[in-house]
């Protein structure tokens, strides 16, 4: 990260500093197309389930893609909810790639039939990311619901048969699956996919299950060692840069890209610093405003703040600060920790100490909640949402208990 050139024409300073100051356009971004979802994963970072009636229209989505093309955003990671439940989903994918915006979309696999798999295998510039959170149905379905493991594996088999290589198998690491990393790699290898493992954040419904599902300190250490040994073979979305404090940095930029090189566009056009920070405090603007997405990216006060010098607070005196950069903003925010203090999973244990000192009543909750357990309410009300009751998680209970799977 500190490669320095002696060429007189080269700028001084590290690349990482340039990125922390922000760029004129994102490198890539997450675009949640819909809050509708046929599943109800217990840790859903976007608290998805019900479609928001104010979703961007097809025309509005195309206007966003036109902007991304003008800004030379290289690709979008389309998710949701389950993006494929939008009737215009495939049309929008085509529109993006025709307008020089690469697409990777995240899906639970429920709409990848044989024909669609063949279409994907033949499509240039479209990548697929299948979500799976257990290497066995037993572990996976506890989090993602009965049958979701089979759905994902079936989709992967269809993609394999159709000749699609190097699609992504994406796993959120939890206390329950942290011992299955080799098994996940084997599954990815079996289907010709690339394994991607990412960090569980206490975001969305994740806040309700974070205490019991986030990896233990010992599991974190093992995870770091495992990732380091795998190098570029396993992707991480740079989501474990807080673990770089253990020693050698993991591959990736090793910095928080939120509002600097990446951001989120949500289904109603709201722009947030990142998909793990869907909360008023991280809302930068809306694409429907006169300046569009470009106006929000370039002029929002929130992003200007994030691109300014950040106070590391007590962390900046730690000898590891340069490696961990103080960790993840969203992880701190949604566990009620101050942003200028340690990450809740600080590898030195400073986060655990901080968690003990916090006021549980002051833990922020997002008002943006499309979960199906939610009592229905009129759109646009500013009333705070009733907290979603965490599912009573005995081994047998399906997170889908109590309602009919949709669509």
């Amino acid at each position: 990260m500190t490669a320095v050139t002696i060429a007189p024409t080269a700028p001084a300073g590290r690349l990482i500093d340039r990125f922390e100051e922000g760029l004129d356009a994102p490198i890539c971004l997450t675009w949640e197309l819909t809050y509708a979802c046929n599943l109800a994963c217990v840790h859903c970072l976007s608290s998805s389930g019900r479609r928001d009636p104010d979703e961007l229209t097809t025309a509005e989505c195309k206007a966003v893609i036109d902007e991304l093309e003008r800004m030379q955003v290289f690709y979008v990671n389309i998710g949701g909810g389950e993006p494929t439940v939008r009737k215009d989903f495939w049309e929008l994918v085509d529109y993006a790639t025709a307008h020089k915006v690469g697409v990777k979309f995240s899906t639970n696999g429920s709409r990848i039939d044989a024909e669609r798999a063949a279409w994907l295998a033949a499509s240039d510039y479209v990548d697929v990311q299948i979500s799976l959170d257990g290497a066995t149905a037993e572990v996976n379905d506890r989090v993602r619901g009965d049958g979701s493991y089979d759905t994902a594996i079936t989709a992967m088999e269809r993609l394999r048969v159709a000749g699609m290589r190097d699609f992504k198998l994406s796993v959120v690491v939890t206390r329950e699956n942290a011992g299955q990393l080799d098994d996940f790699k084997a599954i990815a290898d079996r289907y010709g996919a690339q394994l991607r493992i990412t960090r569980l954040r206490p975001s969305g419904r994740g806040a309700d299950v974070w205490d019991e599902l986030h990896p233990t300190a010992a599991q974190q250490r093992d995870l770091y060692d495992w990732l380091l040994a795998r190098g570029d073979d396993v992707l991480t979305g740079d989501s474990f840069f807080h673990l770089s404090a253990y020693g050698e940095p993991l591959p990736g930029l090793n910095l928080c890209g939120a509002g600097r090189v990446v951001c989120l566009i949500d289904p109603v056009g709201d722009v947030y610093a990142c998909p793990f920070a869907i909360h008023d405090s991280f809302l930068a603007g809306n694409v429907r405003s006169p300046g569009g997405f470009a106006g929000v990216w370039r002029e929002s006060e929130l992003f200007a703040e994030l691109r300014g010098p950040q106070s590391g607070g007590a962390c900046s005196k730690c000898s590891h600060f340069d490696s961990c950069r103080g960790g993840c903003m969203a992880a701190k925010f949604f566990t009620g920790l101050p942003l200028d203090g340690p990450d809740p999973e600080c590898v030195l244990g400073h986060g655990e100490a901080a968690l003990e000192g916090r006021d549980p009543a002051a833990i922020p909750r997002s008002e943006v909640d499309h979960s199906r357990r939610q009592p229905s309410r009129p759109t646009g009300t500013a009333l705070p949402m009733a907290p979603v009751a965490p599912p009573a998680r005995s081994c047998d209970e399906s997170p889908l208990a109590g309602f009919t799977p949709g669509d």
């Binding site: 050139t5 080269a10 700028p11 690349l15 290289f74 990548d127």
Partner: protein, 94 residues
């Protein structure tokens, strides 16, 4: 690839999106999905001139690269060629 022949003709791969930045440029290859950071504005200037000059050395000179820096830029161009960001122009020896 550690070296390229500066006496040959090159161009930006048509599958690459080159985006100028204050520090130089970002280059994204849509086929391989690789992302490269060009860490000097002069290197961006060289890459932008490759297609219009008979060889890479001429492109470097046109971008203001001094003789004493050529080795550095040869290495940079080699990296870009190795990842397919730049390709030999048709009708010329690779």
């Amino acid at each position: 690839m550690d070296e390229i022949d500066l006496a040959t003709a090159w161009r930006l791969n048509p599958q690459v999106s080159l985006r100028p930045e204050s520090f130089g440029a970002l280059a994204y290859h849509f086929g391989t999905r690789r992302l490269s950071f060009l860490k000097s504005p002069a290197l961006l200037a060289v890459v932008e001139r490759l297609a219009d000059h008979p060889d890479a050395a001429a492109a470097c000179r046109a971008a203001g690269v001094g003789e004493d820096e050529l080795a550095l830029y040869r290495r940079a161009l080699a990296t870009l060629a190795g990842s397919g960001m730049i390709v030999p122009r048709e009708g010329t020896a690779a």
